[in-house]
Symmetry: C3
Subunit: 207 residues, 3 copies
């Protein structure tokens, strides 16, 4: 199935992003594989744990783990000789995020929850892996700081949930939701779009 192939691609690409993040922190190769794994499956794992959905999605299909292992080793070998293809990786990451959000929305929508919860779980599926990756690297998570990343996931998840409620065709809903995420991400990358930053002023402006 097409979505399953995208799922594998998303897993591989998120694993690559984990390897590259770990590679800036002087970890040993076992640590690198761990960071790759939490980046790739952290979001879906938290979703399943919060839903009380057992077994966790990667428990009965170890394919995910093998994909992570292969992607990690390949990335470590590749980057010994070549510069990582950052632009291609950003595109692949957008496709991966879109896939994870749609798969997350789909998994969460089976549980008869309020639509706002389904949207939230879909966003989580897409972004939490990257959050854990950055926490383990002792950094403030990137997705909390910049880029239209969470917003893209939120928009895609909302499109999915709303069109699904309107009983649109499943394939069409999936395509539209994924396109929303990918287009927003690519627009953010090409035009350097960011949400406004928030900073607490310790001295008041007036009053």
């Amino acid at each position: 199935m097409f979505i399953h192939l995208l799922d594998i691609l998303g897993t591989a690409v998120f694993a690559v992003s984990g390897v590259l993040a770990a590679g800036r922190k002087r970890m040993d190769i076992s640590g690198v594989v761990v960071i790759a794994a939490v980046t790739a499956i952290g979001g879906g794992t938290l979703r399943d744990v919060l839903l009380g959905r057992h077994p966790i999605f990667w428990f009965h299909d170890p394919t995910y783990l093998y994909v992570i292992l292969i992607a990690s080793v390949a990335t470590m070998l590749y980057t010994r000789y070549f510069r990582p293809p950052h632009r291609l990786l950003l595109l692949a990451d957008a496709v991966g995020l879109a896939t994870f959000v749609v798969l997350g929305a789909n998994a969460a929508s089976m549980a008869a929850l309020p639509f706002v919860i389904v949207i939230l779980l879909a966003v989580m599926t897409g972004v939490v892996g990257g959050v854990i990756r950055d926490v383990l690297c002792a950094e403030i998570p990137l997705v909390l700081q910049k880029d239209i990343y969470m917003l893209a996931a939120l928009a895609g998840a909302s499109v999915y949930v709303v069109l699904k409620m309107a009983s649109w065709d499943n394939t069409l809903v999936t395509l539209l939701a994924m396109s929303t995420v990918i287009i927003l991400r690519l627009a953010a990358i090409f035009w350097h779009l960011h949400l406004p930053r928030y900073q607490v002023r310790e001295t008041p402006l007036k009053g």
Copy 2:
């Protein structure tokens, strides 16, 4: 019900504390809302996950999410023009902590667990949100470092569990447990009380 109102207040106040913490870390507004949310519902979520209690408390009542969203936006707007009312927030935080501890003790006591586990889950409900907030801000959690915060939660939870075992009236137990938390927190704030700090000496004093 009165306790439900306090629960909403606690959620809002914890969200505000999340926003202010995020505001020192140059996050974008989506990141700020995420920090507000994990601060407000992180403790109760971990409690429910450990108890295997599904759906998680905020899954069937999205009110929590709306409260967090409104509190976050209001705080971001307010702090553009005014200095945050730190003293008032500390008082509100004490009431929020007291509420979360009592609600946590109540939820955990339904599961027929040893009393020390109930106390622990009640403390978790109160403090884990702040711990995750600080981890996401790449800081050592404040509650591990100073203030009589965990100790106040522990005292309140113990009062709750002991008096409940003695079959005291429900409302009275709730009031006494909450008062314990609030009084200890306010005493700690006013008199700058801290538990002793512990530091490993790398060179021995004797021997």
Copy 3:
């Protein structure tokens, strides 16, 4: 039972390692006990949560909590006067890791999961406590950076799973799996063995 005694020893020794880590971060004594606790029971807790195994192992046996409390207080008192016995602690830690890995493999193997998942859950049981300890101390987890720590856990878990599949005697399997972990750890300590570190080169070597 012998393995239960080792479990208690492992819990105590992991708690001690938590106390010593916290002691470098100027935490108050309540924070120190929290770090000790997550180090000692964090791995097994995540394993149980992922397995959907309720109640969590320490919920129906608060012995673990008392052991952690006693070990924490004893360590804090001891280090006021004496230097911690680092070499002895490393040996005890190796035994603790071995015990946790075997107990984790045993718990996970009851759930009829693919053998690679059982191995992973066993490794998690052994190492995740230390990972959370370091995250709460705002450090990059040590086990991701150096030492043959995860690899030792992985080797021990694999020995356990493979020999168990071959229907070897339970006690023998346990002893061989634990020996594997302990010998690898001690070898790593004595000969300063590390896995290779991985570092992304931002400029390419060729091409």
